[in-house]
């Protein structure tokens, strides 16, 4: 930790990753940073290197560089300074703002300068002279006072905020393109980047009703501290050339509107590109995700050893993180570990928790290894089943005379009355899979699938692909595919919510 009067520079060292990586995040308020030390980020860890200022130019000591990068520095009788690394050399001449790098001349913003007994070189020496002869990539980020050593993913993240009517928009640009997830965690939104560390500049905030502050909470996570007026948020992501832009709109609770005539004022508080997430009036509050099989029941198995039970659990966990984080909808998993769950217990979990949707995840198998592609199933019932439900009484006599309506559910056939909505959900999933999840020859079908029959809510079973097909086995296990699949499911859920909203008053 390091703080100075006019420039606060704080470094957070991360916990090591499984590989033993030590990761860093750097954040600081805007300001002048002329004498801010340079921070070196490497897989092995972090260290700082002091920086001096001479005539408004930032310099580092050549012997500091020599110590860190194992350079041999030699000053000859004519005054030339030779910096050698594994047989490659840089030759500097005092009073000249140029250097010879392996025989090629490069320019420097200032000549080397002697400070006492040490030679100082402009920081640009690192990127222009040292980087070309060094074995590992050296990425000097002068404005951030960072030197990234090696192939670490340290995206630059810039944050802008702008007030909108009854909302605040935060725009987070990550360069190069970096994926991120947003999860609401009680009083804060956690934005986690898929990176090793962040090169982030957090602007000064006026704490107000929607956003209190933005801070770094770990090397790759920023937290948006929410204010008392926060009601909901929505996210959208755009890819712009080399940048991923995450737009976070934070919507305030409705202030008392004196005007009862809404027609005169535009109702949209936020320019609408995406639906507002997390509204309490959502028709979908809880989704049950059922990772198929588990425990000694491995389900289908690929030649490469990929098991259905593991793929379904991995995807289910991703769906949970994405739906909860991005849509603010609660997600229940029928199992969150590798254990056997009896088949009837799965829809029971959904029924007992009054889930609004039930999605069972599976991976398929076939004796024909060429068979491939995803399929979406809804339950199928026979005429006999339909008749049983039709015969179930809905009006029963009451004590003391008369009769009253009751909800009478034949639990093994509870799905019957949701079957049309289930088919609509399947249709939307198929539509969203389109170019993201390869579909099978019959992408939609009705079948007497037991796990769906007693679900008392719209329910589908998704066979994500065939583990007995070598290409699909690899694809199903890949995080690229799993993420694309999850995003398609998420988009279908949004469309389905719109459909339920439009159908005013579904069955629940």
């Amino acid at each position: 930790m390091n703080a100075r009067p006019f420039s606060l520079f704080s470094f957070l060292i991360s916990a090591a990753l499984a590989l033993g990586l030590v990761l860093l995040v750097v954040s600081r308020p805007r300001g002048q940073g002329t004498a801010t030390p340079l921070t070196l980020l490497a897989r092995e860890g972090r260290r700082t290197m002091s920086v001096g200022v001479i005539n408004d130019q930032e310099f580092v000591a050549l012997d500091d560089l020599a110590a860190v990068f194992q350079l041999a520095v030699h000053e000859d009788s004519l005054g030339a300074i030779t910096v050698a690394y594994k047989g490659r050399t840089v030759v500097l001449t005092p009073d000249q703002a140029i250097a010879s790098v392996s025989g090629r001349l490069i320019s420097l913003p200032a000549p080397p300068s002697r400070a006492g007994r040490r030679w100082m070189v402009p920081v640009e020496f690192i990127s222009r002279a040292l980087a070309p002869i060094y074995d590992v990539r050296l990425d000097l980020r002068k404005p951030s006072h960072l030197l990234v050593v090696g192939n670490l993913r340290v995206p630059r993240v810039s944050i802008r905020h702008e007030p909108l009517t009854n909302a605040v928009r935060l725009t987070l640009d990550a360069t190069p393109r970096t994926a991120s997830t947003v999860v609401q965690d009680s009083e804060r939104l956690r934005v986690t980047f898929d990176a090793d560390a962040l090169d982030v500049t957090i602007p000064a905030f006026q704490p107000q009703g929607l956003v209190q502050a933005v801070r770094s909470v770990d090397p790759v996570t920023l937290a948006v501290e929410l204010g008392p007026r926060f009601a909901a948020f929505r996210t959208s992501t755009q890819s712009l050339d080399t940048t991923t832009r995450l737009v976070l709109d934070l919507v305030a609770t409705q202030t008392q509107t004196p005007s009862p005539a809404p027609a005169t004022s535009p109702p949209a508080a936020v320019p609408s590109e995406a639906p507002i997430f997390g509204r309490p009036a959502s028709a979908i509050r809880t989704i049950a995700i059922d990772p198929g099989h588990g425990g000694e029941d491995e389900g289908a198995k690929g030649a490469g050893g990929t098991t259905e039970k593991n793929v379904t659990l991995a995807v289910a966990r991703r769906v949970k993180a994405a739906v909860e984080g991005q849509l603010g909808i609660r997600v229940l998993l029928t199992r969150d570990e590798d254990r056997r769950v009896p088949i009837d217990e799965r829809p029971a979990v959904a029924n007992n928790n009054k889930a609004d949707l039930f999605i069972s995840l599976h991976a398929s198998a076939s004796p024909k290894s060429a068979t491939s592609g995803a399929s979406i199933y809804v339950a199928a019932f026979t005429d006999t089943d339909q008749a049983r439900v039709a015969l179930a009484p809905e009006r029963v006599p009451t004590f003391g005379g008369g009769s009253r309506d009751i909800e009478f559910v034949l639990w093994d056939l509870a799905q019957i009355r949701h079957i049309d909505q289930s088919a609509e959900l399947a249709r939307l999933l198929e539509q969203q899979f389109d170019d993201r999840v390869p579909l099978g020859a019959r992408p939609f079908d009705r079948a007497p699938l037991r796990v769906l029959e007693s679900a008392n809510m719209p329910a589908v079973l998704i066979e994500m692909g065939y583990l007995t097909n070598a290409d699909e086995e690899k694809r199903l296990a890949s995080s690229n595919f799993q993420n694309a699949f999850v995003q398609a499911v998420l988009d279908a859920v949004l469309k389905f919510r719109d459909y339920l909203g439009a159908a005013t008053g579904g069955t629940r």
């Binding site: 289908a300 599976h362 796990v451 066979e463």
Partner: protein, 191 residues
């Protein structure tokens, strides 16, 4: 037609009928009695009917179609069985026998028929060895194809059978591989 031609036609027809009777009804008990032939043609275990030897019926058996997602039928000679139950057993035994290439069966290899009975309502109960579940590859569609192989094989060939329920090791099971509801007999075409 002259009366003489009518007489000739009648005579030829009668002779043909006699020959048919001779080959299919009259003679079989005679050559059926000689040891070797009978062993070779003996119905598989589980079938107790003394089927007339060598008598075959044409039956449609079901295998996974080229597209991998449907069943396709192939006409085969299947040993004749006396009555619906015996004939159903013969059909199932022919169906679960490993097919010749390029046919691919949706029934796991090693599956055997333990018992079979048919109710008055036309519901056939097919009791299979546990291999049908234990050796199953899994997958919703594959499981549907396995179950419907039995449903189709019996309903397509035997008018007296309208629905089929699969049992495993003599017992009703939830599913074969975690997908298809086996609590009720399944009819040929599900809505």
């Amino acid at each position: 037609m002259t009366p003489r031609r009518v007489l000739a036609t009648a005579a030829i027809t009668a002779a043909a009928a006699g020959l048919v009777w001779l080959f299919f009804v009259g003679l079989p008990p005679w050559y059926g009695g000689s040891g070797t032939g009978r062993r070779a043609e003996a119905p598989p275990a589980g079938s107790t009917a003394p089927a007339p030897l060598g008598r075959k019926i044409k039956a449609r058996l079901f295998y996974i179609a080229e597209d991998g997602i449907n069943l396709t039928s192939v006409e085969r000679d299947v040993t004749y069985g006396e009555g619906t139950v015996e004939q159903a057993k013969e059909i199932i035994n022919a169906q679960i026998a490993p097919p010749t290439e390029p046919l691919v069966s949706a029934v796991p290899p090693g599956t055997t028929l333990r018992a079979l009975f048919v109710t008055e309502q036309g519901e056939a109960y097919v009791d299979l060895s546990r291999d049908v579940a234990a050796a199953h590859l899994g997958g919703s569609l594959n499981e549907l194809l396995t179950i419907y192989t039995f449903v189709e094989a019996l309903t397509a060939n035997l008018p007296a059978v309208s629905a089929v329920q699969v049992l495993v090791d003599g017992m009703e099971v939830d599913t074969l591989a975690g997908h298809v509801d086996l609590r009720r007999p399944l009819v040929r075409k599900v809505q």
